[in-house]
Subunit: 180 residues, 2 copies
């Protein structure tokens, strides 16, 4: 950020009075431009003993498999955003069951929130940001071709918990974990 | 937003190719400036049968009672943000137990995430954004002087569940609910 989005003047990095962090502050109108993490919301769609994955048609991680998810939009609840992304990426209708994993990724200023969901029918198809959409049983998951650590972490947690029949809600931070 | 934060030129409201929403797009460098909801993270600190509330020393809702919470910062996990806000607003040390309520407030582009937490000692005090910090039993909660609906909803849910001894994780959207 170099310019003020309100008045177009230059911004400077300053710690405002009463604050303890550097912020972009306008040198003319003094507007403080806060920058905050963005939320990625999506679902883990389940059909009988299989889960739905989408193969990405966009960067980053073109060609890798992911759960349907994307940036939460202004004016939208987390649940509505998760349903919208599932429709956009997989043309799939799901019913949300419960929040499942909440994965902070502070290195890229994101928080990923995935809901467990029940796939309502098999009438799904790749949306414009997907190359393919498929159902996978546990032994068929393409572990080496998953797009993001939040996806592999969510799938591993899901298959572990499925053995017990008891699902919790989990929060993680990806700082210290290895890639995949 | 009127000006591009990258180059300082005017922005226009345009639906970019492949998108379906109006975005602020720079008329000179074509940068798309996405705007997304912000997360408010905090805790519900519990000491024996009482919960901790802070009386706000800042607007909005100056003088009203709230749970310690504030905007998640870049580079921070949700859990770290919740601990930091609890320290800043109440100078209080807590141990997080689990995510508890996730309250979407789409009308103001926010999502509030509150963790159940155990207060570790009674050595707390108002931080610079609080007028007062106190512990309240269920019958003493100042229900008519709570700052935000996400706070009253979280407290009501907590006291209901405490009777059963079983705590879930809950997501809400505040669209349709009345104030408090």
């Amino acid at each position: 950020m170099k310019f003020c989005s309100h008045c177009g003047s230059r911004v400077a990095l300053v710690i405002p009075a009463g604050d303890n962090r550097l912020r972009h502050v306008c040198t003319a109108c003094n507007t403080i431009h806060y920058q905050n993490p963005r939320m990625v919301v999506g679902t883990l769609p389940v059909w009988e003993n299989r889960v739905m994955l989408c193969r990405r048609a966009i960067e980053p991680r073109y060609g890798y498999w992911t759960l349907p998810a994307g940036f939460l939009e202004n004016g939208e609840s987390a649940a509505d955003g998760a349903l919208r992304e599932t429709m956009e990426e997989a043309c799939a209708r799901v019913a949300l069951i419960a929040p499942y994993t909440m994965v902070s990724v502070p290195a890229i200023d994101q928080l990923h929130l995935l809901f467990r969901a029940e796939l309502l029918d098999l009438d799904f198809a790749p949306g414009s940001e997907s190359l393919d959409v498929q159902l996978f049983g546990e032994t068929d998951i393409p572990w080496d071709e998953l797009a993001f650590r939040s996806v592999s972490l969510t799938l591993r947690t899901y298959f572990e918990e499925r053995r017990t029949g008891q699902f919790g809600v989990h929060h993680f931070s990806l700082d210290a974990l290895p890639r995949n």
